[in-house]
């Protein structure tokens, strides 16, 4: 087990290396650079801008820039943000925590909805309960998240004014107080719920279909032939087997939420990684862009590993040696 994890971590090194080259080249391939925005500034001297470019090494060939960047990145130094003028890691850190909290709360909401609804729908398949849940699922599949999030924002953030419509915390409360935590959570609920209500539908359908599949398995009939009461047939035999793929997906889900919160963070002006990423791209803040992509890539690799570990923990047929 430990050997397996170590081996997987070692394999990540070439994967990350390859990723870094691609990311770096693509970032460089974007038209313009961090100083392009200044060119329209009448007070900026073009000669001065060129001098700064030279000084920052932006005129060097890409591989020289890459080697310089990579050798620093290996030591955990992703450089200084061109726009924020502070080390990239500092810029990212606050945003990262915001995104992680959002992802966790979203995940909790997603499973809180998916598990009971999936079980109901699967156990009582083809009844009106199942048809209602399935109807909701198809509605969820068909609704674009950016439209749904806007509606949620309008209804609960603006019209009813139950939740704040932007930011990650109220600026008036002091850090470290209880009110601060409450305010943080309050800001999380609306974006998390909007994502969960849409994202949960695939998990619901997945769980439903697993239950329907498992219901007619031979081992379920065996359990009944032993005189096991129906409720136990479900909890010990059908549900445990149905949760396997859901558990295995958990690893991917986590990374998916960290990397994919761009839309929701932008709509709710929630200061997370996704929003930072988008603004950094438009400001050509290469150091931040590359750092975020590298981190998401790393998280994805960790997520796959996590999925493998979870699956081997819950399914005795899969043992990692």
């Amino acid at each position: 087990m430990w050997k397996f994890i170590l081996r997987r971590l070692l394999v990540m090194i070439p994967q990350l290396f390859l990723l870094s080259i691609i990311v770096f080249m693509m970032a460089k391939a974007m038209p313009g650079d961090a100083l392009s925005g200044q060119e329209i500034n009448p007070r900026a001297n073009p000669a001065e801008l060129d001098r700064i470019r030279e000084e920052l090494g932006l005129n060097d060939p890409w591989y020289q820039q890459y080697i310089r960047w990579a050798s620093n990145a290996v030591q955990g130094d992703f450089g200084v943000s061109y726009t924020h003028k502070t080390p990239v890691m500092d810029v990212i850190e606050d945003r990262l925590w915001n995104t992680v909290f959002l992802a966790l709360v979203t995940l909790i909401f997603t499973y809180m909805l998916a598990i009971p609804l999936g079980i109901l729908s699967g156990r009582y398949n083809d009844t009106w309960v199942d048809k209602t849940v399935t109807g909701y699922s198809y509605l969820g599949f068909g609704t674009p998240i950016f439209i749904f999030a806007l509606i949620m924002l309008f209804v609960f953030g603006f019209a009813l004014d139950w939740f704040p419509s932007g930011g990650s915390v109220d600026s008036k409360v002091d850090e470290g107080t209880f009110a601060y935590v409450v305010s943080k959570i309050n800001h999380l609920i609306l974006p998390a719920l909007s994502t969960a209500l849409i994202a949960t539908t695939s998990t619901i359908q997945y769980l439903r279909n697993e239950i329907i599949d498992n219901k007619i398995k031979d081992f379920v009939r065996t359990a009944r032939s032993k005189g096991v009461p129906e409720s136990k047939v479900y909890s010990r035999h059908i549900l445990r087997n149905s949760f396997l793929p859901i558990a295995a997906f958990l690893g991917y889900e986590i990374t998916g939420l960290i990397g994919g919160a761009v839309i929701i963070e932008t709509i709710f002006s929630y200061p997370g990684l996704g929003q930072l990423f988008l603004s950094s791209v438009s400001l050509r803040d290469f150091s931040v862009v590359t750092a975020i992509v590298m981190m998401t890539g790393f998280a994805t690799l960790l997520g796959t590993l996590l999925s493998d570990i979870i699956l081997s923990a819950v399914d005795p047929r899969i043992r990692i040696e």
Partner: protein, 341 residues
């Protein structure tokens, strides 16, 4: 006189297809006595498994209805509700399924799956349950019971899995075990071992066994009585000796004729033309086998075929057996006739 364990009287089990119910088990009656193995024989689709699941009440209730009587210890099993039936299943009636890999839960250890049976039917402590489980595993001839107790189904061979399955069925010393094709998924050498094991357990516990199979060599080896089923009906029943020495019904004779043996190795193996009619399309009037023996004149069949006693507890359905003959020399000609038709 042997003591009867289970009496099945006029059992009819129907499946709903669309809005109509179609009988897969049609007016079946027979009795299983203590210390007796009754073999239920027939092709695929004859209603053997449907019969087994009806006795255990394991059919989907929304799509199935069973009528008649299944008398066990003075009560009609068909009249029991789920809670009452759960006290019978596993405790009084055990069941062995065909494919032991899929019939065992892949996520539970063998030990836990056997213990589950004890959980609901005994008051044993967990240590006692474990002891009993190890004892059961030893009884069914598993070489390292302590190790197997902790193993998962995929870690065992097919034969070992079927032994574990048997120990689940006999965990609570049931009076009757229903074995639904217990050897079909196993290779021949293992088949013989499993049959010996069943026979051995039976002789020790005096339980009754309903052995469902399409393999007549299995029947010859272990059974006491045979019930031949065709298209949901019993077409012939009697002791093994009677049926093998004096088979009467055309279906039984055809089945026996289809077994390869030293005597018929020179000829082409007998083939019963056609297939068992599907329950939705079956003609329920007249002899159900007549379409598969078209060379027998129609008037040889009874209009409403009944079971006729021919002595010695030997019953046969329809009168067509009196007129039945195999078509001339081997079955090559039989093939030709159907081609012309």
């Amino acid at each position: 006189m042997k003591k009867a364990i289970l009496q099945i009287e006029n059992l009819t089990t129907s499946f709903r297809i669309g809005n109509k119910y179609h009988a897969a088990v049609d007016d079946v009656s027979f009795t299983v006595n203590e210390n007796e193995i009754v073999a239920v024989v027939g092709e695929s689709g004859c209603g053997k498994s449907a019969l087994a699941l009806s006795i255990m009440q394991l059919h989907n209730k929304q799509r199935t209805k069973s009528e008649g009587n299944i008398n066990y210890k003075g009560q009609n099993l068909l009249k029991l509700n789920d809670v009452q039936m759960n006290k019978v299943r596993g405790k009084e009636l055990g069941m062995i399924f065909q494919e032991p890999l899929t019939a065992l839960n892949p996520l539970m250890t063998i030990g836990k799956q056997i213990e589950e049976n004890l959980d609901y039917h005994t008051e044993l402590s967990s240590a006692e349950k474990k002891n009993r489980t190890i004892e059961l595993l030893t009884q069914v001839g598993i070489p390292y019971p302590e190790r197997t107790y902790k193993q998962y189904p995929h870690e065992l061979s097919g034969g070992m899995r079927q032994r574990a399955m048997i120990s689940i069925a006999i965990a609570c010393n049931p009076a009757l075990v229903i074995a639904d094709e217990p050897t079909t998924a196993l290779d021949v050498t293992i088949q013989a071992q499993i049959l010996d094991l069943l026979k051995d357990i039976q002789s020790r516990t005096k339980m009754g066994i309903i052995l469902i199979t399409h393999d007549l060599s299995v029947v010859a080896e272990v059974a006491d009585r045979i019930v031949v089923m065709y298209a949901g009906q019993v077409v012939e029943t009697g002791s093994v000796k009677e049926i093998f020495n004096n088979p009467l019904h055309p279906y039984t004779r055809s089945l026996l004729n289809s077994i390869p043996s030293a005597a018929n190795e020179k000829n082409r193996l007998h083939v019963i033309e056609g297939i068992v009619p599907s329950i939705a399309k079956m003609d329920r009037i007249g002899c159900r086998f007549q379409d598969r023996i078209p060379w027998i004149p129609k008037h040889a069949h009874e209009e409403t075929p009944r079971l006729h006693e021919v002595g010695n507890g030997h019953f046969v359905r329809c009168t067509c057996y009196k007129a039945f003959y195999f078509q001339a020399e081997g079955d090559a000609s039989a093939h030709d006739i159907t081609k012309i038709r």
